[in-house]
Every structure is written in structure tokens, then in C-alpha cells.
Amino acid sequence: MNTKREAKRLLSMAILAGKIMLENGAETYRVEDTISRICNSRSFITYTEPFVTPTIILLAVGFEDDILTYVQRTKNKTIDLNKIAMVNEFSRNFVSSEMSIDEGFERLREIDRTRPYSNYANILFGGLAGGFFSLLFGGTSNDFICAFIISMFVVKINSFLSKINIIYFVNNFITAAIGTYLAIIFTKLGLGSNMDKIIIGLIMPLVPGVAITNAARDSMLGDFIAGMSRGLEAAIIALSVAFGVGFILIAFHGGM
């Protein structure tokens, strides 16, 4: 019954669960935790050792007198907390029930397909986020309107560029540059009064706040490789945004 094939299927299901979590912004320790829980829940697995970095998942499990190993490369980083919560719930269900591995695969694929909010909601709320941010930092109501409109643009451009597979550095650079250019135009037309407050609002969706926090957290928990690569990711994203904003400011607003 508990054949080697079954052990292999369980292994690749655990990897799929980990991959979904990792690609949607989960911390590495949470991914490792989920993978070991899923594997250890079945009695024919004698030993589990996951190793997760932000770009790769390694998993070794023991089955009878054999060790099975699997390597999974991960790509396209977005933040989708809904999927993390769903995989978390799935792993809890899987561990506490006798769910078959086929059903587990089916559910995980379903989780990977879910989209809790429509594109329009995403754009609208991205705009709200930027707009209220400029208010929070002391912008006026005119600045709010400008930041709202430009942030919606920024979110739209960002998701479009990542859909056509522009690498994230260029993507952030172009998005920040277009946003800043629009902010300059809006202020020159007299629609917005504080250009800096508008720009701060609209770069907030691009700023790597989550990456910095996760990097520091991984390093402080002892996952140094994950911490290093997340930290580098954060630094490069910050640089790309700064280049985009700075380039436009120098070119169209004086300076240097």
C-alpha cells in the first residue's frame, strides 16, 4: 500500500505547497514548517529535512531504508497573503485528516488559481493606498486626488509590465519614472500642491518594506542565506525605485 510511489507523490505535494507559499511572500521558516508538517503527518515517512531559501526549495525525506530528494526552483515573486492563509489551512486539514494525496494535489492547484479580488478592485485600492498615504504625510486634499489617480496608474503599469515578463528591476524603474513624471506634470498644472507628498504616496506600493522586514527576520532567526538574499532583493528594489524617481527629477525638474 505505502509504496515508494506514494512517498514520492507526498514529497512533490509538500513541495508544491511550499512553492505556492514561497512565491507569494511567506517567510522561509513558515515554508519549512509547513513542509515538515505535511511530510511527518504520514507514518511511512521516517525522516524529513527541508531547506528553503527565497529562490530554491530542497527537501529530503526518508522512506523505509531509502532517502528521496527533490529540488524545486521558484520564481515570480508577488505578495498574495490570501494564498498563504489558504495553504496554511490546507496543511492543517491535511495533517489532521486522512486526505488522499490526489485530493491534496487537487486542492493545492485550486488554491493556486484563486484570485480573491478582481483587477479593478486591485487598481482602485492601490490608488486609495497611495492617496491616503500622501494625506498621512501631510499632503492636502488636492495632493490626495493626484496621488490617488497616479497610484492607480502605477499599479496598472506595474502589473502590466510583470505580465509581459519585464524583469523586476526594469519594471520598478519604469513604473517609478512614469509615476514621478505624472506627479511633476500634475503639480505644474496646479492640480497638486506638494510634489514630494504625491511622490511618497505613489512609490509606497513599490518600496520593499516587506522584503526588508522578512530579510531582517530571517537573519535574526538564523536563516542567514535566506536573510542575505532577501536583503539583497530589498536593496536592489530600493535602488531601482530611487533610480526611476531620481532620473526623472534630474531630467525634468532641475537638480545636479
Binding site: 513558515r30 496554511n88 494625506l135
Partner: protein, 150 residues
């Protein structure tokens, strides 16, 4: 009065980010509330702590504990409450002014503001870690239940 307005602004901008980060629908209001409360702590403690780094740390600890509490209460991972919750504290403005100073070749103030922004970012991370490890320790102190929570 201004506190109420700031609370509302922080709530609504965290709400925007919660949808942007695709927080599950039933948790959007909760995570926005944790962001707004964190920001309120940050502006309330102005008189108590003059350093914005220390205030960020205090606010991040609050957000972290709130997130862990809600995670336990609603059986969701703490991340979905803490990631939107820390957003108002993230030093986006500090980054912007650092870059502005570099463009103006004013490297003294660039180092000044940049260091502050960096330490604010670290203070957020440390605050979250401190609160999550403390609450995990508190959970472990209690007698073990049979079901496992992540």
C-alpha cells in the same frame, strides 16, 4: 481631533494595502485596524520618545502582538495581519528624501536621513520578531493542546 483624522487616514491607507497584498476578505478590516493602531501608537508617543526609531520600534511591537493575538484568535497566520500593519511605519518618505539629498549632492544629509531610514526599517523587523517570539514562548508555557497551530 487630529488623532482621529490620522487614525482614519492610516486605517484607509492600510485598507488599500491590504487589498493590494490580497489579504483574505474576512481579515481585511482586522489587518487595517492593526495598521491604524500601530500608527496611532507612533504619533501618540511623540512626547514620550523623541526618537522616531524608538517610536517605530514601539509601534512595531504593538502591531506584532496584535497580529499574534489575532492569529491565535482567528486561526490565520500572523503574517496576514502584520505585513499590512507595518506599512504606515515603512520609511518610504525617508528613502525619498535620501535620494533627493543625493541628487542635490548633499551627502551629509543623505547619510543622515538614509541611516535613519535604514534603522527605522530594522526597528520594524526587530519589533515584529520580539513580539512574535515572546508570544510563541507564552503559548508554549501553557499546557499543550492536542491540535497544532502554526
Amino acid at each position: 481631533m487630529s488623532y482621529i483624522i490620522q487614525f482614519i487616514y492610516a486605517f484607509l491607507s492600510t485598507l488599500g494595502y491590504s487589498v493590494f497584498f490580497k489579504v483574505p476578505r474576512d481579515s481585511v478590516i482586522k489587518s487595517s485596524l492593526s495598521g491604524a493602531i500601530g500608527w496611532l501608537i507612533y504619533i501618540f508617543s511623540v512626547d514620550l520618545l523623541p526618537s522616531s526609531i524608538a517610536r517605530t520600534f514601539l509601534a512595531a511591537i504593538t502591531v506584532g502582538f496584535l497580529g499574534e493575538f489575532m492569529a491565535k484568535r482567528f486561526k490565520k497566520p500572523a503574517t496576514i495581519f502584520t505585513i499590512p500593519g507595518i506599512i504606515p511605519l515603512v520609511p518610504g518618505a525617508g528613502m525619498y528624501y535620501t535620494m533627493l539629498a543625493i541628487i542635490d549632492r548633499d551627502f551629509n544629509s543623505a547619510a543622515d536621513i538614509g541611516t535613519e531610514a535604514l534603522f527605522i526599517a530594522l526597528a520594524i523587523a526587530i519589533g515584529i520578531i520580539v513580539s512574535s517570539s515572546f508570544s510563541r514562548a507564552l503559548i508554549n508555557l501553557k499546557p499543550k493542546k492536542h491540535n497544532i497551530t502554526i
